[in-house]
C-alpha cells in the first residue's frame, strides 16, 4: 500500500467515523440514560435528511437545511417520546419494539413523500472544493464533517463533565431511582435527552445526504453501523461512542479497500467478539440488566 493510499484511507476512515459519531452519540446517550435502544434512530436520520432536501429544493442553503432537519426531527422526537414512549416507560422490550414499529412506518411514509430515487445532496458552497493534504487531494466537505464530529465530541464532553445537566445525566445513567429521589424531574430530563438525540440524528441526516446520499434503506444501513459502534464502544458512554466510531470508520475504510468480499465480516466480527467476551463494550458500565 502506498503512503498516499494510506493517508486517503485514514482520512476516509476518520471522516466516516465522525459522521457515525454524530449519529451514535445521541443513540448511546438515549440508551445510557433511558435504557431504550432506539431502533428508529436510523429513520430519524433519513427523515432529517429528506427534510433538508425539501428545504434545499426550495432554495435554502445547506446550513439552513441542516438546522431545519435537526429541528424537524427534534420535534418528531418530542412527539414520539411524549406521545408513545412514555406509555411504555420502564419496560425495555416494548420500548425497543415500539421503535421498530415506528421505523417501519417512517420508512414507508418517507417513500411515499420523497420517492425511491437515491438523492445526493449538494455540498455547501463554502466547502465545495478540495485541498492538498499529505500528498492527497481531499474534499473539504469531509474535513468539515470531521471538524463537526470533533466539535460535538468536545461539546458533549464539556456538557457531561462540567455542567449540572451533565451531572444529572451521568447520575441518571448510574442510578435512575436515586436521581428522582433527589427531586429532579426525571421525565423532563428523559424527554430532553431523547429530543437532543433526535436533533443530532436529524442534523446528521442532512450531512449524510451529502456524504452518502438518501434513499429507502439508508435508515437501516446507517443504523447497522450505529449499532456496531455502540456495541464496540459500550452503550451509554461518550468515550465509547468516540472510540467506537473511529474504529468502525477505520475498519470499514481499510476493510473495503483491502478485502472487499470480507468487509462485511470485518465489521461484525469484532462486534460479535466483544459481545461474547466483554458484552458491555470497551467502555460500558458493569451494571447491566
Amino acid at each position: 500500500m502506498s503512503g498516499r493510499q494510506f493517508v486517503l484511507l485514514t482520512l476516509n476512515g476518520i471522516s466516516f467515523g465522525a459522521l457515525l459519531f454524530l449519529l451514535s452519540s445521541g443513540f448511546t446517550l438515549i440508551f445510557g440514560l433511558m435504557r431504550i435502544v432506539n431502533l428508529a434512530h436510523g429513520s430519524f436520520y433519513l427523515l432529517g435528511g429528506y427534510v433538508g432536501l425539501t428545504l434545499m429544493q426550495n432554495g435554502q442553503s445547506f446550513w439552513v437545511a441542516m438546522i431545519g432537519g435537526a429541528l424537524a426531527i427534534a420535534v418528531l422526537g418530542f412527539v414520539v417520546e411524549r406521545g408513545l414512549l412514555l406509555r411504555v416507560r420502564g419496560r425495555t422490550m416494548p420500548e425497543v419494539l415500539l421503535t421498530v414499529g415506528l421505523s417501519l412506518i417512517f420508512a414507508d411514509l418517507a417513500l411515499a413523500r420523497w420517492g425511491g430515487d437515491p438523492i445526493l445532496l449538494d455540498r455547501p458552497s463554502q466547502f465545495a472544493s478540495t485541498v492538498e493534504l499529505g500528498g492527497v487531494t481531499y474534499p473539504e466537505f469531509r474535513l468539515l464533517v470531521l471538524a463537526l464530529g470533533i466539535l460535538l465530541a468536545a461539546l458533549m464532553w464539556i456538557l457531561q463533565s462540567r455542567t449540572r445537566i451533565g451531572a444529572i445525566i451521568r447520575a441518571g445513567v448510574d442510578d435512575r431511582e436515586m436521581v428522582s429521589a433527589l427531586g429532579i424531574n426525571v421525565n423532563a430530563v428523559f424527554t430532553g435527552v431523547f429530543v437532543f438525540g433526535a436533533l443530532l440524528a436529524g442534523m446528521t441526516g442532512v450531512i449524510g445526504g451529502v456524504f452518502l446520499s438518501l434513499y429507502p434503506g439508508a435508515d437501516g444501513e446507517i443504523l447497522n453501523f450505529a449499532l456496531v459502534v455502540v456495541i464496540l464502544g459500550g452503550l451509554g458512554d461518550l468515550r465509547g461512542a468516540i472510540v467506537g466510531s473511529l474504529l468502525v470508520g477505520l475498519i470499514d475504510s481499510f476493510g473495503r479497500s483491502l478485502t472487499p468480499s470480507l468487509s462485511y465480516f470485518l465489521l461484525f466480527a469484532p462486534m460479535a467478539l466483544i459481545l461474547i467476551f466483554r458484552p458491555r463494550g470497551l467502555f460500558g458500565r458493569a451494571t447491566v440488566n
Partner: protein
C-alpha cells in the same frame, strides 16, 4: 376447577381448528381448468414490480412504463381488453411467489410481467416453469442464464436484455480506442459479475489486459477507498459498473478525487442510467457508458416515447420505464397478429418469440433461439438538455448485438456463467469458439 372448563376448552380448540380449515378454503387456488388467455373476454395481466424497498424507484418506473403504453394506445387489442393488476414484491423472492400465485390462481391472470432483481426474477421463472397456461414477460430481469443455461420456456424476454450484452461491446470498443490496460470496478454480486465478465472477456480476447480488478459490495457508502487504489498513471481507462445509490456516490467521488479528467471512464448500463442521472449534476456531464437504451436516441420511436413519458410523469424515462413499455408493445403486437386468440398458449408463445420489433424505444429488437435478446447496444454520453436535465445521447450504435457477442453459442454455453472467479480472461482459446470475427492472433 369447574366441570364446565374442560368442555369450554374443547370448544375453544374445535373453533380454532374450524378457523384453520375455513382459512385454507378461503385461500384456495381458483378455477382448475384454465385455458390461459382463451379467445374472448378481457385478458388479465399481473405486473409484479418492486414499488417499495430499495429498488422502489426502478420498480415505479417499470409500472409507469407499462401503464403509459396502454394510456396512449388504448387498452383494447384485437377486440380484447387488457386489464392490469399491479402487485408489489418489495424486492423479495418469497413475496414475488406469493403475488404470482395470487395473480394466477385468484385473479386468473394469463400473463405475468416482471420482475427486476435477479433473485426475484429467478424465483418467478421457477414458478412459471411448470405452468402451461401462463405466459411470463421479463423486460428487466437481466440475469444472463435466463436465456442461456437456465431457460424457462414461458418466461420471455419481451423488451428485455442480458447483463453482459452491453459489456461485451464495451470491451471490444475499449481495445479499438487504443486502450490496452484497463482497471475494472464492479459491484460484487451476480449483476456486477456478469458486467465485468462481459467486458473482461471481449477485451482480453483482443489482447487487452485487466491490470486491476476491484469489487465493491452493493451499498458501499464510500468509493474513495477504491478510488484511492486507482492510480491514473497505471492504466488507460477504467470500466465501472455501479447500481442504484452507489452510482450517485461513485460518480460524484470520481470527480471529487480528480479522476474525471485524468482517466477515461467507461460506464456500465446502470452506472449512468437515467433514473440516477435525475439526481446527478455536473459531475456526470461528458461521461460515457454502454447500454441497450439511450433516452437521447434520435429516432421517432424513442423520442415520441420520451415526450409522452415526460408529459405524463414530468421526468425523462429510464430504461426501466422503456422496458415495460416495450413489453407492452411486444405483447400487443403478438396479440394483434394472433387476432386476439390466446387459447393455444404454445402457439402464442411461438408467436411471441418470433416478434421482430422495429419501433421500440430501444430500437430494433428480436429474440434468438434461446430467448435471448438481439438488439442495438449504444455508446452513450451524458449531456444536458435545454431544460437543464441530464440525459444520455448516442455516440455510436452497435446494431444486432447477440447475447453471445461474436462467440459460438454452444461454445459459450459450455462455459460457466460469469462469476467473480470466471470472467473469460483465458477464453476463448481458439477461433473455433468464435462464430464470427475471430480477434485471436494465431495461437
Amino acid at each position: 376447577m369447574n366441570a364446565y372448563a374442560p368442555r369450554l376448552r374443547k370448544l375453544h380448540v374445535a373453533a380454532a381448528l374450524a378457523l384453520v380449515l375455513v382459512l385454507a378454503a378461503c385461500s384456495a387456488p381458483g378455477g382448475d381448468e384454465e385455458e390461459g388467455g382463451g379467445d374472448e373476454g378481457p385478458i388479465t395481466v399481473g405486473v409484479i414490480v418492486p414499488t417499495t424497498g430499495v429498488v422502489a424507484a426502478a420498480g415505479t418506473d417499470m409500472l409507469n412504463g407499462w401503464n403509459l403504453y396502454w394510456e396512449i394506445n388504448g387498452d383494447e387489442v384485437a377486440g380484447r381488453t387488457i386489464e392490469t393488476i399491479h402487485e408489489d414484491n418489495a424486492g423479495d423472492p418469497t413475496t414475488t411467489l406469493t403475488k404470482a400465485r395470487k395473480l394466477v390462481e385468484q385473479d386468473q391472470a394469463s400473463v405475468i410481467v416482471g420482475t427486476l432483481l435477479a433473485n426475484t426474477a429467478l424465483a418467478l421463472a421457477e414458478y412459471l416453469d411448470p405452468l402451461d397456461d401462463v405466459i411470463g414477460l421479463n423486460p428487466a430481469g437481466s440475469a444472463d442464464d435466463l436465456s442461456q443455461r437456465g431457460v424457462v420456456d414461458n418466461y420471455v424476454r419481451a423488451g428485455g436484455w442480458q447483463s453482459s450484452s452491453p459489456a461485451h461491446v464495451a470491451g471490444n470498443w475499449a481495445y479499438e480506442q487504443g486502450y490496452r490496460e484497463v482497471i475494472t470496478l464492479c459491484q460484487d454480486y451476480a449483476f456486477g459479475h456478469e458486467n465485468c465478465g462481459g467486458f473482461t472477456n471481449s477485451f482480453t480476447d483482443r489482447g487487452g489486459e485487466i491490470v486491476q480488478q476491484l469489487w465493491a459490495p452493493l451499498g458501499t457508502p464510500d468509493y474513495s477507498s477504491y478510488l484511492s487504489d486507482i492510480d491514473p498513471a497505471s492504466a488507460d481507462a477504467a470500466f465501472v459498473l455501479t447500481v442504484g445509490a452507489d452510482s450517485g456516490r461513485f460518480v460524484k467521488q470520481w470527480e471529487d478525487f480528480g479522476l474525471k479528467n485524468k482517466l477515461p471512464l467507461i460506464g456500465g448500463e446502470t452506472t449512468l442510467e437515467q433514473s440516477l442521472l435525475r439526481a446527478m449534476g455536473d459531475e456526470a456531464v461528458g461521461l460515457q457508458s454502454f447500454g441497450h437504451y439511450a433516452e437521447g436516441r434520435e429516432d421517432s420511436a424513442t423520442q415520441e416515447f420520451v415526450d409522452e413519458y415526460v408529459e405524463a410523469y414530468d421526468q425523462l424515462p429510464s430504461y426501466y420505464s422503456a422496458s415495460t413499455y416495450t413489453a407492452a408493445q411486444w405483447f400487443a403486437e403478438t396479440l394483434e397478429a394472433e387476432d386476439g386468440d390466446m387459447s393455444d398458449v404454445s402457439a402464442f408463445l411461438e408467436a411471441l418469440k418470433g416478434v421482430q420489433l422495429d419501433n421500440s424505444p430501444f430500437g430494433p429488437m428480436q429474440l434468438d433461439e434461446y430467448g435471448g435478446t438481439i438488439a442495438t447496444m449504444y455508446l452513450r454520453e451524458v449531456a444536458e438538455d435545454e431544460d437543464g436535465r441530464l440525459y444520455n445521447k448516442v455516440v455510436e450504435e452497435y446494431p444486432e448485438t447477440s447475447q453471445f457477442w461474436n462467440y459460438d453459442p454452444q461454445a459459450f454455453l459450455d462455459q460457466p456463467v460469469y462469476t467473480r472467479e470466471y470472467l473469460g480472461e483465458d477464453w476463448p482459446e481458439s477461433c473455433d469458439q468464435f462464430a464470427t470475427d475471430c480477434p485471436l492472433e494465431g495461437e
